[in-house]
Symmetry: C2
């Protein structure tokens, strides 16, 4: 290597990427599939991926068992993931201490989208993929969505297609590559590598894959339960292509102030998280089919048997986490001196590696608050309800169907133009340019906020 030959100019390269993405977002009837062809492809793929998911008792799970002594739910191979207990003390939110089951999956997987130019317009290689937990079987997923065990083929199964585009990308081809967390209330320290990589014409769309413009992906993001969680989080890591974001306009707070706020929230919270055995997890009980909370709230751990024509393995059984009730993730957007800002909340979720990440304005499942007095309800929930009819985005979306069963949330974006008083240091108006910057570094926006950012950019 002669390092001096290839000195790189980050800003120039990046401006080019943003311009190309803007072009793709504006493209109508992309070069590869017309609107009609895309709809036909989606319908066809849904038919072509028959999947049967049946609830079974834990005793019928193949290879999974409740470990002697702890009661933890583990796979005999030691792989995949485990469900154990967690003892939490936290000064975030209305409940100071509780215990709960949690999914422990320490591996870092890859979620990657390949991007290829057709007639100069970038297209994203999206995958039609069934997951057992999806309400509708097939959803649109990234080019690659694989745990490390998956892609190293620890458990057998076929090779992960397109993996090498992400494990060995061409020099200069990486658009984004960042570790991001997943649901901090359900996963312990889970994170995946979110990647976007440009590829050349040698990469072609296999069965179950299609090249879509950003315009087409954005159109699908505005529909219920089409674009899956893994695709949404990767999309949020694209550099923001919209001129109103990249222009030289001022944010309400300086970047240093926003970073300092995040640091302070992380340093000052008192959160302690101790892994415990699933059997000793207080207020949770196991019967042959479920591990559930005595109140009937929160979620259950259940077991399913799956038969699928289109996965690495054709038939298997596994545990899933089934939330009770539909979630709500709502974001207020406001222009300040013409610059779009979003109202984010610094949330301490038990499973976060970094104590605190920024979440939506409101993130909750209403049913979980039924026992608590109104003043314990999330701030701004009333305002979200009062203004919901005017929402610019209101879409029902699923969380990752490989781990969660029928886990749906309403994702809602509401434009506001009046002063919304901040109720505490947990909230800040952050400009979309600042969000774009924070998304280049790990663990700043939680997965619900990332979905809302992808949704906002789709408008």
């Amino acid at each position: 290597m002669t390092p001096t030959t290839a000195l790189a100019s980050s800003r120039g390269e990046e401006a080019g990427t943003r311009a190309a993405l803007a072009w793709s977002a504006a493209a109508v009837d992309g070069g590869v599939l017309s609107e009609v062809e895309l709809a036909a492809w989606l319908a066809d793929r849904r038919r072509a991926q028959p999947q049967r998911v049946e609830r079974v008792p834990f005793a019928e799970l193949d290879g999974w068992r409740f470990e002697q002594g702890t009661g933890d739910l583990r796979h005999a191979s030691g792989g995949f993931f485990a469900v154990h207990g967690l003892r939490v003390r936290s000064d975030f939110g209305p409940v100071p201490a509780w215990e709960q089951p949690v999914i422990d999956q320490p591996e870092i997987g890859i979620l990657g989208i390949a991007v290829r130019d057709f007639d100069g317009v970038p297209h994203l290689l999206m995958q039609a993929k069934s997951e057992p937990g999806n309400v509708n079987g097939m959803q649109l997923s990234p080019t690659v969505q694989a745990t490390k065990s998956n892609y190293l083929r620890v458990h057998g199964g076929s090779a992960v297609k397109y993996l090498e585009c992400f494990r060995r990308p061409e020099p200069g081809s990486v658009v984004a590559d960042v570790l991001q967390s997943e649901q901090g209330s359900w996963f312990l320290g889970k994170r995946n590598r979110n990647m976007i990589v440009r590829v050349g014409p040698e990469v072609e769309a296999d069965d179950d894959f299609a090249w879509l413009t950003l315009n087409q992906v954005n159109m699908l993001l505005r529909q219920d339960n089409v674009v899956n969680m893994d695709a949404r989080t990767v999309l949020s890591c694209l550099p923001d292509w919209r001129a109103e974001v990249t222009g030289p306009a001022a944010s309400l707070h300086t970047d240093t102030e926003i970073r300092s706020w995040i640091t302070r929230r992380r340093a000052e919270h008192e959160v302690s998280v101790t892994p415990i055995g699933l059997d000793e997890t207080k207020d949770w009980h196991r019967d042959p089919y479920t591990v559930s909370h005595v109140s009937g709230r929160h979620f259950s751990v259940v077991a399913v048997d799956v038969v699928s024509g289109r996965r690495e393995v054709a038939a298997w059984s596994q545990p899933l986490l089934e939330p009770h009730g539909t979630g709500l993730a709502a974001l207020f957007v406001r222009r300040l001196n013409g610059v779009p800002h979003v109202l984010l909340r610094a949330r301490a979720e038990a499973g976060f590696l970094s104590v605190v990440e920024l979440g939506p304005t409101v993130q909750c499942t209403a049913g979980n608050y039924a026992d608590l007095p109104p003043d314990a309800w999330p701030p701004y929930l009333d305002e979200v309800r009062a203004r919901r009819e005017a929402a610019v985005y209101d879409v029902l979306l699923s969380e990752e169907g490989g781990r969660f069963l029928n886990a749906q949330s309403h994702y809602v974006i509401i434009e506001v133009d009046d002063d919304i008083p901040l109720v505490s240091d947990e909230f800040r108006w952050v400009s979309l340019r600042q969000v774009d910057e924070l998304l280049r570094y790990s663990h700043h926006l939680n997965v619900q906020a990332r979905t809302l950012i992808a949704g906002l950019r789709s408008l």
Copy 2:
């Protein structure tokens, strides 16, 4: 609050801060203390802080005990810190698996330097502070250096001076505020909040404190054992003020490539770290005075009795970790097309929260490699030894004296102008502008690399 009234321009504000720091770095004989007065103040403070440190058997520690069952060394209050065992499996470095004692201190403390203008020149409020582990008693520390228990006065003691400057800074006064890790081989997941805050004329220097220009601090950074570790890490988080760094020049790799490299190193390493009891830590033995490795290498845990006239508490006893042998942390610096770059190594240290951080070109304690074959020695160690006479920085510095006893390392910076072949994906040339950017976000450069960056800027 009316948010629209105070829209902030990050770039403008920041350029002003960098210009002011450049002014302070160029100032000769600062407005407050002349060179002669500074030397006299340091000598005077050293005399005024008598400290007696005596090794004692663990049995004589006040409040500390080896816990029944685990053998972990803990304080009766549950506070301060604990020493327990760690079982490590790691594909970084030559040893695939080992066990070791580790310091567990989950609290996030504050390390903060207050900056005040005198005649338009920023001065840093530095503290003369004795620590039991320092080879020379007193060293120069930040304005505030306090654990959370310290500053919340959980264990009694006097109030932490200047704390409110950092806990409640004036709007717009924060220059840097970021969580950074400490030694990943000795601490489990330790991190502190590194802060720099501008203050007004109402803040005056108390006994044991002095206002120094950046020029004076830099002069002291080039001397053996004057500026302590806590001060060095905070100084490294200052925005780089040197025109050669802030100018619009190109780096060898784009920022995206550097971030992608860090993400890949984090995702691909196989590191597993399991807390275990100190008693079951293989190859480590306890006698009345030490917990040591059977080989005599690495470090020992010891106990000391301290009497000091100048601390929150006048007399106490505590455990310390005593490394065996002097460490080496060396950094290669090279200009590529006129732009300074440093050769960093992506290191997986057992105690890192983020699996991998960037360390110096070479970081080791030679004695720990005595049993291993030469090809297991750190890459570039030979080159560092061969070129050391030409080092532009070669200073003996101590690690944090509140936790480590006589923990000294040679910090060495060597300018190179020939092609140094990269031996693996663990190494990259990173420009100083990119280092400056990475230091705004947590957990990118380890504490040894941060010391070397502070040293490099002092030249």
